[in-house]
Subunit: 69 residues, 2 copies
C-alpha cells in the first residue's frame, strides 16, 4: 500500500531529505519514502494515516496539499 | 537566554525554514529561531534543553553538531 502526496516548498536535496526524515521520525512503520523534487510529490509506502503524514510534512516546514488523485 | 548550534546539511532557504519549523514544532516555548545558512548555525532563543533541539534537528534530516563554543 502506498500513497502519493503533493508537497510544496521543497527546492533542493536537503529539503527532500528533510521531508523523508520527518516522515520516518513521525511514523516509524513507514517502509519507504520517495521524493520527486521536480514533480513536488512524496510517495509513502506503508499503512499510515494521511493526517500523520501531513502533520509531519507541515511540522518540517513544508506544505502538504493532500493526495495526488 | 539563547544558544547557538552548529547544524550541517542546510543548503537552501527551504532547508533553513525546515529546521526552524521543526524546532518550533518540537519546542513551542522557543521564542525565536535564527538560521545562518552560510555559517551553518542555528540560534535558538528560549530555555530549551539542548537534547530537544538536537533531536528536532536530527529528526528533520540535518546534523546537529552541538553548541558553538
Amino acid at each position: 500500500m502506498s500513497a502519493t502526496y503533493r508537497v510544496s516548498g521543497m527546492t533542493c536535496g536537503g529539503c527532500a531529505r528533510s521531508v523523508e526524515s520527518a516522515i520516518k521520525a513521525a511514523a516509524p512503520e513507514v517502509e519507504t519514502v520517495t521524493v520527486d523534487l521536480e514533480a513536488g510529490t512524496v510517495t509513502v509506502a506503508g499503512a499510515v494515516p494521511q493526517e500523520v503524514i501531513a502533520g509531519a510534512v507541515e511540522d518540517a516546514g513544508f506544505d502538504c496539499d493532500g493526495l495526488v488523485s
